[in-house]
Amino acid sequence: MSNIKEKIIEKLLLASSLITILTTIGIISVLIFQTIGFFREVSIIDFFTDTEWTPLFDNKKFGIVALLSGTILTTLISMLVAVPLGLTISIYLSQYAPKQLREVVKPMLEILAAIPTVVYGYFALVYVTPILQQVFPAMSGFNALSPGIVMGIMILPLISSLSEDALYAVPKTLREGSYAMGATKFQTSFRVIMPAALSGIAVSIILAISRAVGETMIVAIAAGQQPRFTFNPFVPIETATTYIVQVSSGDVPQDSIEYKTIFAVGMTLFVVTLILNNISFWLKKRYQENYR
C-alpha cells in the first residue's frame, strides 16, 4: 500500500517537472506557428533587408533591421556602462575592499537588481533625460542614450556578482604565487586573476547582453516608439521589445498581419537570446572543468 503511495507521489513530482518542458514546447510552437503565418504574407528577404518598419501604417514595410538597430544601440550603451563599472566593482569587492564595506555594499547592489524595471523607466525619462539634455541640448526627449545608461545601471549587479564569483573561483595559490613574486594587488588582479577568470567574466557579460536585449519597460518608456535604422543615440528609436508592447497595448485585430508581426519579432528575440544563453552555458561548463 505504502509502495503504491510512494509511486504515485514520484509520478506527481515528475509531472510537475515536466511542466517546464511543456513550457518550452509551448513557447516554441506558438512562435513558430504565428511566424509561419507571418512569412506567408511577408517575404523573408524583405524582413531582413528592408530598413523601414511600418506595419501600423498604410504603406506597410517589414524591415526588422529598424527595430534591431534600436535594440543593438540601447544594448551597446548599457554595456558601455555596465561592463567597465561591473568589472571594476567585482575586482574591488573581491581583492581590495575591507570586509565591513563589502558587507554593506553588496546588499545595496542587490537592491538595484530587485527594483522593478518600470521604475527604472520612470527614472530614465523623468530624471536622467533632463540632465542629459543640459549636456546635449540637441537631444530629443525620447532617445536611446538615457534608457541605455539606466539599463546599464540595472544590469550592473548581474555583471559584478557573476564576475566576482568567477574571480573567487581562481585558485588561491595563483594569487599567493603572484604576491610572493612581489607583485602589487593591481598587477595580481589584472595580470593573474583576471586572465585566469576570463571565461567566467565572459559568461557574465554574455548573460548581461542577453538581459539587455530582452529588457522591455525601460526602453518602452524612455526610448520612444519610432522605429528607425540609426545609431544616433540622441533621437527617438524603437526596440524589438518595445514594438511588442506598443502593439499589445493598442487595439489590433487578432489574426491580422499586425498581430502576427509581434510573434515574428518575438521569434527573432527568442533566437538571439537563446544563442547568447547557450554560448554562456558552454563557456561556463568549460571553465568549471578547468579547475577541477
Binding site: 505504502s2 514520484e10 513530482l13 515528475l14 510537475s16 517537472s17 511542466i19 517546464t20 518542458i21 513550457t23 506558438v30 504565428q34 563599472l85 571594476t88 566593482i89 574591488y92 555594499v105 546588499p107 547592489l109 530587485a114 527594483i115 522593478p116 518600470v118 521604475v119 523607466g121 520612470y122 523623468v126 530624471y127 545601471i153 550592473l156 613574486m181 612581489g182 602589487t184 594587488k185 593591481f186 595580470r191 593573474v192 586572465p195 585566469a196 542577453s210 536585449v213 530582452g214 522591455t216 519597460m217 518602452a220 518608456i221 511588442i244 508592447v245 499589445s248 497595448s249 487578432q254 510573434f263 518575438g266 528575440l269 527568442f270 537570446t273 537563446l274 547568447l276 544563453n277 552555458f281
Partner: protein
Amino acid sequence: MAKTKEKKKFKNRLNVGSIPKSKYYDYQDKFFNYFALCCTLLGVVVLALLLFNVLSSGLSRIDWDFITSGPSRRAAKAGIYTALVGTLWIMGLTALIAFPIGISAAIYLEEYAKKSRLANMLEINIANLAGVPSIIYGLLGLELFARALHLGGSLLTGSLTLALLILPIIIVSTRESLKTVPYSIREASYALGATKWQTIWNQVLPASISGIFTGVILALSRAVGETAPLIVIGALTFVPYVPESVMDSFTVLPIQIFNWVSRPQKAFSVNAAAAIIVLLSITFIMNGIAVYLRHRWQKKIKW
C-alpha cells in the same frame, strides 16, 4: 599535446616573472584602489538618487484617497485602488500556482532523478527558460491561455503566465536549499525504516523550508514587478472596478505606473512616482522577509 599547449598559453598570459619594482606600481595600485572605490560607491549613489527622486516627487501625493480611489482621467482624482487590488490578486494566484509546482519539480530533480538523462535534459531546459525574456512569456500566455483556452485578459491568464515565468527561478533556488541538507540525515532516516517520501516530508523539507521560502518569496517579488508580459496578454490600463473572480479583467501597479508615465502632463508623472513608492514598498518588504529568513536559517542550522 593540446593540454601542454594550453598550459603554455596560460603561463605566457600570467607573465609575472617580469615585474620590475618601482614606486610607479605602488601609485598605480593606490590610484586603482580609490578609483574602484568610487565606481563601487557610484552604484550606491545612483540607488540613493533614484529613491530620493521618487520619494521627493511622490511622497506628498500619497494619502488615503490615493490608495482608495480608482482610475480617473483627472490626475488629482486618480488613485491606485484597482491596481493595488489587482497586484494582490496576481500575487496570491501566482503563488498558489507556482509554489507547489516549482517545489515539487525541484524535489523530483534533486531527490529522485539525479544524473539520469531525463534529469540532464530538464536541467538544460530550465536553465534556458530562465534566460528567456519575460515578454516572450507574455506571447505564450496570449496565445495559449488568453486565446486557445479562452481565458481572455483575465487574472487567471495573468497569473498562469507569471507562474510559468518564475517557475525556473523557484526550481533553481529550491534545489539549492535541498542541497544544503547533508546526506547523513537522509541515511539516518532510511536506517530507521522510513520510505523515500517519508524521509523527504519529515526530514529534508523541514530542514530546508526557510531556505525554500527565501527563494520563492524572491521569485514572487520578481513577479510583482513584471509589467511587459501582463501588457502582452491583454491586461487593461483602465479598470474602473475591482476584480471579484479569477475570470475578471484587471490591472496591476506596474501597468498603472507605465500608463501614468506615458502621459505628458506633469501631474500624472507625480502620480506615477507615488505609485512607485507603493510598488517599491511591496518589493522591499518581500525582499526584507526573504533576507530575514535566510539570515535566521543560516544562524539556526549548523550541521
